[in-house]
């Protein structure tokens, strides 16, 4: 992850960061190799997401001022390690247990909010996931299982810092120290790996599956609406971007909640878009002063990109979601249609915050646009890569 | 290329029943109008104005365009002995050509904004009057509309004929006073130039306007000189009725044409739909 250029703040000692970077790289390598086998297993979609995340980290490191590149490289490698670990560990309680130290490590980065506040999201997610898994597995009345399914669903939402578990994000808070590190980088891996594992292992009874799907659907629609309205009304740039993450996450949650092949594929593509497009854009937005109206075509194109129009990354997500929702129930698709129409509204507000980047910023923006184009034009290739 | 057809159309447009016949009928109608208004002196004055308007036409390109579109409209009327088959006529084409001619003249005659509203409403009602019989018979050919004699359509034709007669004074600019609430025409608009423009326009409009109404309402005459004379007589008669209605209204001091035309247009439409449903 990278940071917004901000007034210098207290930095962690270099050796800790270097250690985090080395450990992160090592863990990533182990996860890619799947060693030790049995304990670590990286599913194809998570592998694709990890590859995209590497690109994002590389871009982020290149974008920041040279003085901070080593620090950001270490942070990025550490983040990749955490991502790989969360995606590879097969045992849900183990994932829950690992969320706690990862959450503390992320919260320990110097930021505007104290560690005791930053940690709330990850630990809540850890508890919900662990407890949910226990209830799913424990014998007893059926409502316990439904409660467990609810726990799994809410755990994903809490990890992402989504509605109703929204986290504070300060105006001048670096992205890697704020909760956006979870929303835009770490949580997508979890949200991609966990439901896939649950579905593959048939751990959910039908009624539990219905509960999980319904909760994710409902919260997905809520996040979609909340994100659009919030991004439009937000007073600060960071707040607006945080809300824009909710829009993408809304689509992803709905995709997962549909528990359907196309829905999961849509969620997968949405996650890739969050990591490859939305997160780098936050960094670029932080590098340039926002303006009323950008007159350069690249900036103008951003509105289209953020609105999810073709040929950018949002289009296939919408197509697959509509397909899955229509197959399930057309009223749901109608609701989704309204959400998609609303989602085009917040694009202008966000595009203005990017302003007119120059130098590295302009190149970075172009790279993001190209990545979005690739995601939008070749979703079938990416689905094949992710085994979806 | 059908050069023969083009020649015939050119002949029809510029001579008969186009520009020449239009001019001749126009002069006749203007004189008749003058007689109805001020007797013999009025006739002399009307003839003088008509001849001057024709003289002034040479230097005014808009006047030529007005004349061109009026002639185009006249070609749509089912005038016997026309060089082109009168079955080629198209009511909508004639109505629109006439409207273009009138508005072109309005563009060239500033200070007449006050008449715009009446003129537009008159044109709309006139279109209803001519279109209503077409609704039932699904045809826009004036000749076939005139030939229709289905009993169910007779009331529609009578009502639409009446509506047409009410609208013609508005089209021809015979109703003088501006509508309340509208700016009065500037002083010079009442001067000789405006009067000349009004006469020039009326001369171009008498034949196509009255001729179209006659073509739609009256069965087509036989294609021989007698038929042609009979058609022209009916046209002049229609013009006389129009001029008389204006003269009477002038004596009464009020012009109820528009006030009567608007409700009548609604009635005509209702009757046309009913007739179409019956037939």
């Amino acid at each position: 992850m990278t940071t917004l250029p901000l007034p210098s703040r207290a930095q962690l000692p270099a050796w800790e960061l270097l250690l985090a970077g080395v450990v992160g790289a090592g863990v990533t390598l182990l996860c890619l190799l799947g060693r030790p086998s049995g304990a670590l297993q990286l599913l194809p979609p998570s592998r694709a997401l990890l590859a995209i995340s590497m690109l994002t980290v590389g871009l982020g490191v290149w974008l920041v001022p040279s003085g901070r590149r080593l620090e950001l490289l270490c942070v990025g490698l550490g983040g990749l390690g955490c991502q790989a670990l969360l995606a590879s560990v097969t045992d849900v309680p183990a994932v829950a247990a690992l969320l706690v130290p990862i959450g503390f490590a992320a919260a320990a980065r110097p930021g505007r909010h104290p560690l005791t506040v930053q940690i709330r999201g990850p630990v809540l997610a850890a508890l919900l996931l662990g407890l949910g898994w226990t209830l799913l597995r424990s014998p007893g009345p059926s409502w316990l299982g439904r409660l467990g399914a609810l726990g799994e669903a809410l755990g994903l939402v809490a990890a992402g810092g989504l509605f109703p578990y929204l986290q504070d994000v300060g105006e001048e808070e670096p992205a890697d120290a704020s909760y956006l590190a979870w929303t835009g980088f770490l949580a997508p891996t979890l949200a991609l790996a966990l439901p896939t594992r649950l579905l593959h292992s048939h751990a959910l009874r039908p009624d539990e599956g219905v509960v999980m799907g319904a909760v994710l659907l409902g919260l997905g629609l809520l996040n979609l609406t909340w994100g659009v309205v919030g991004a439009w009304r937000a007073s600060s740039t960071v707040e607006a971007w945080r809300c824009s993450f909710l829009v993408d996450w809304g689509f992803a949650l709905i995709g997962i909640g549909l528990l359907d092949r196309d829905g999961l594929a849509a969620a997968y593509l949405a996650m890739l878009a969050i990591v490859a497009v939305r997160t780098p854009l936050v960094v670029v937005a932080g590098m340039t002063p926002s303006i009323a109206v950008g007159r350069r075509p690249l900036t103008l194109l951003l509105v289209v990109l953020l609105a999810g129009a073709a040929p950018f990354s949002g289009f296939p997500v919408r197509l697959l979601l509509l397909r899955a929702a229509t197959q399930l129930a057309w009223p749901l698709a109608a609701l989704l249609l309204v959400g998609m129409a609303l989602a085009t509204l917040h694009a202008l507000r966000l595009a203005r915050t990017v302003g007119v980047p120059r130098g590295h910023g302009a190149v970075g923006l172009a790279v993001v646009v190209v990545m979005s184009l690739a995601l939008g034009l070749l979703p079938d290739v990416l689905r094949a890569l992710g085994g979806m | 290329m059908p050069w023969g057809d083009i020649g015939l159309q050119l002949l029809a447009l510029l001579a008969y029943p186009g520009a020449l016949l239009t001019g001749a009928v126009g002069v006749l109608c203007e004189v008749g109008n003058g007689v109805l208004l001020d007797g013999r002196a009025g006739a002399r004055e009307a003839l003088r104005r008509a001849l001057r308007a024709l003289r002034d036409l040479s230097g005014e390109p808009v006047g030529w365009l007005v004349w061109l579109f009026a002639s185009l409209a006249a070609c749509g009327a089912s005038v016997p002995l026309a060089p082109v088959a009168s079955t080629d006529g198209n009511l909508l084409l004639s109505v629109l050509a006439l409207a273009v001619a009138i508005w072109l003249d309005r563009i060239a005659s500033p200070g007449e904004e006050g008449k715009g509203r009446r003129l537009l409403l008159g044109q709309l009602c006139w279109l209803v009057a001519l279109f209503a019989p077409a609704l039932a018979s699904s045809s826009l050919r004036p000749q076939s509309l005139g030939a229709v004699a289905v009993p169910a359509l007779i009331p529609v034709k009578v009502l639409s004929g009446l509506l047409g007669l009410l609208c013609l004074p508005l089209l021809l600019g015979l109703v003088p006073e501006p509508v309340a609430g509208w700016p009065a025409p500037r002083s010079w608009a009442h001067g000789p130039e405006a009067v000349g423009a009004a006469v020039r326009l009326r001369m171009a409009l008498w034949l196509p306007a009255c001729g179209l109404l006659v073509s739609v309402e009256v069965p087509p005459p036989s294609p021989d000189p007698a038929g042609a004379l009979r058609f022209l007589a009916v046209v002049l008669g229609t013009a006389a009725v129009v001029a008389s209605s204006v003269a009477v209204a002038r004596r009464l001091g009020r012009f109820p044409h528009l006030g009567l035309a608007l409700p009548l247009a609604g009635l005509v439409l209702v009757a046309a739909v009913a007739a179409a449903a019956v037939s």
Binding site: G121 | L96, W182
Partner: protein
């Protein structure tokens, strides 16, 4: 090779876009010249390819997919007609509107994408193309100025999203959205309604002021022209496709009446706005909605004559789009252009509209009434043109382009005079391709066209002979009188004053307040009612009961009590 002829026009425009981008640095106008050449060349290739390809439908399927949609293109008579209309407007725009290389490249690219979208062989691909077009047009519009950009963008975004759902519904119901493979029964009323909504949003054929009108109020006309040149044919292509999907019929007969009535209402509303416009530009802005309304009215009739008339009227709309930005705000040239685009004979617009009204009249008494409404709107439009000459000219009048004006008017008149030929060679094949012969076999022969003109059961229009004579005499009169050299006539003479003087209010003659001919203020009642509703507020004494702002704050900040509340509530819900 036939498929090459199908791919060549969009490819030409795409290459032109790349060249314009790269060579644009050399000369300011290089991009525009390249784009214009490519557009005219594309027209030539399009016509030649279709003609010498035997005028038979072609289909090309690529083994790849874009945006999750299989890629395939199709060329038939309707696509040929629509692509040509788009290209004509685009060529006029690129040839006569001064613009930098970047903008020209963007226009060429948008044109290329639009041609491919028109040729898309599935509804899903059409939705994708529409989305891409909307994006490019948004960039083109916002590049010039912000005026009306969001209105256009919002409308077009809604259009592609709705169309995307229609495609998905079609896939779910019929198994595919490929036009040639969808079973006829799959086109059900909901799918059709979605397609129709998308079409109406794109074409602005709605009885209120849409983006199509708003776009002309901008200072720079190029972006708006591009948007309309691309979107209006694209929108109408959706309704034509609906005929193809339903084997010449729409899923229910009431849909025909609904859209026909909507078309007539649109035309009336546009004409009403035109005759009440406060400026020449606002009046011109209603030319397209008026034409779109009449086109929709004819297209929705469900008869071959209606479809043929709609195609011809669409041709007039395309040329109107290309001509309008070249019209000056003042002087006789502007008035002549206005008159022609509002349906003065013998231009193509007139011919198309005439056939639209005749088609409505022939379809039955009720549709005949709608045709009458269309004719009334037409008359009001002509009156609006006259009224516009009395309106005060804009503070900064647009000078237009005399060559663009000449080219546009020339094409309009040529199209009008050649209406018979266009009917026989373009419009009738479209109608016979789309309408199933079984249901409309007797209707086809009743529409005839040739050099002499058009022959329809309800009335002929000898466009080739009488129209040609009128055009020749009219042009000759205007040239002989040297009208184009004169500054203006009537009140127009005031417009010879310098713009600055007018801006300062110094005038040599007093300006009359030109009110609308017909007072249609009641038309805005729904809008006023909506504004009233928006203005409603909760009475102050009850505001303390509902503190949405406080709730919002609690949700936006990390408040554990709120989390616990939501979690417990959800737990109670799922355990019940």
């Amino acid at each position: 090779m036939p498929s090459a002829a199908m791919l060549a026009p969009p490819a030409l425009l795409a290459v032109a876009a790349i060249l314009a981008c790269s060579l644009g640095q050399l000369a300011a106008q290089a991009g525009r010249v390249i784009g214009a050449l490519a557009a005219w060349l594309a027209i030539g290739v399009e016509v030649a390819g279709w003609w010498w390809g035997g005028r038979v439908p072609l289909e090309f399927t690529a083994p790849i997919s874009l945006g999750g949609v299989p890629l395939g293109l199709k060329l038939d008579s309707s696509i040929f007609a629509l692509q040509t209309v788009t290209l004509l407007a685009l060529a006029l725009l690129l040839t006569f509107q001064p613009q930098g290389s970047g903008r020209a490249a963007l226009a060429s690219l948008a044109g290329g994408v639009a041609l491919s979208t028109l040729a898309a062989n599935s509804l899903a691909l059409t939705a994708l193309g529409l989305s891409a077009c909307a994006g490019l047009l948004r960039v083109a519009l916002a590049w010039d100025e912000q005026e009306a950009v969001e209105a256009a963008w919002g409308t077009l975004s809604l259009a592609w999203i709705v169309l995307l759902w229609a495609a998905v519904l079609l896939e779910v119901v019929g198994g595919t959205s490929v036009y040639s493979a969808v079973p006829v029964t799959a086109l059900q009323v909901p799918v059709f309604l979605l397609v129709a909504v998308a079409a109406l949003l794109c074409t602005g054929a709605l009885p209120w002021r849409t983006w199509v009108s708003l776009i002309w109020a901008r200072e720079r006309p190029a972006g708006g022209t591009l948007a309309l040149a691309v979107m209006v044919p694209l929108g109408f292509s959706l309704l034509l496709r609906a005929y193809a999907l339903g084997a010449g019929e729409w899923p229910a007969s009431w849909l025909h009446s609904l859209l026909t009535g909507l078309g007539a209402l649109t035309a009336l509303a546009a004409a009403g706005r035109a005759q009440a416009a406060g400026s020449v530009r606002m009046m011109r802005a209603e030319a397209l909605p008026l034409g779109a309304g009449l086109t929709l009215m004819a297209l929705a009739l469900g008869t071959p004559l209606g479809v043929a008339a709609a195609v011809l009227s669409l041709g007039g709309l395309g040329l109107t789009t290309g001509l309008l930005p070249s019209l000056p705000d003042e002087g006789p040239a502007g008035s002549i252009g206005d008159a022609l685009v509002f349906g003065t004979p013998p231009a193509l617009v007139f011919g198309g509209w005439l056939l639209c009204v005749q088609a409505a009249l022939e379809a039955g008494p009720m549709t005949g009434l709608m045709g009458l409404a269309g004719a009334l709107a037409w008359l009001v439009g002509l009156a609006a043109v006259a009224r516009a000459t009395w309106l005060p000219p804009p503070t900064v009048p647009r000078s237009g382009s005399l060559t663009g004006f000449a080219a546009g008017v020339g094409l309009l008149l040529a199209g009008g005079v050649g209406l018979g030929g266009l009917t026989a060679l373009v419009a009738m094949p479209v109608a016979s391709d789309l309408m199933s012969p079984s249901s409309h076999a007797p209707a086809i022969p009743y529409l005839g066209g040739g050099v002499a003109g058009v022959v329809a059961p309800s009335g002929n229009w000898p466009a080739g002979v009488l129209g040609g004579v009128v055009a020749a005499v009219g042009v000759a009169l205007l040239c002989l009188a040297g009208l184009f050299r004169r500054r203006g006539w009537g009140l127009r003479q005031r417009s010879s004053e310098p713009a600055e003087a007018r801006a300062r209010g110094h005038r040599s003659l007093p300006i009359l307040e030109v009110g609308p001919f017909l007072d249609l203020s009641w038309w805005g009642l729904p809008v006023q009612a909506a504004m009233r509703l928006r203005g409603l507020r909760l009475p102050s004494q009850y505001r303390s009961l509902v503190r949405l702002r406080a709730l919002g704050a609690a949700t936006m900040r990390s408040r554990p009590w709120f989390w616990a509340l939501v979690t417990v509530a959800l737990a109670l819900v799922v355990t019940r």
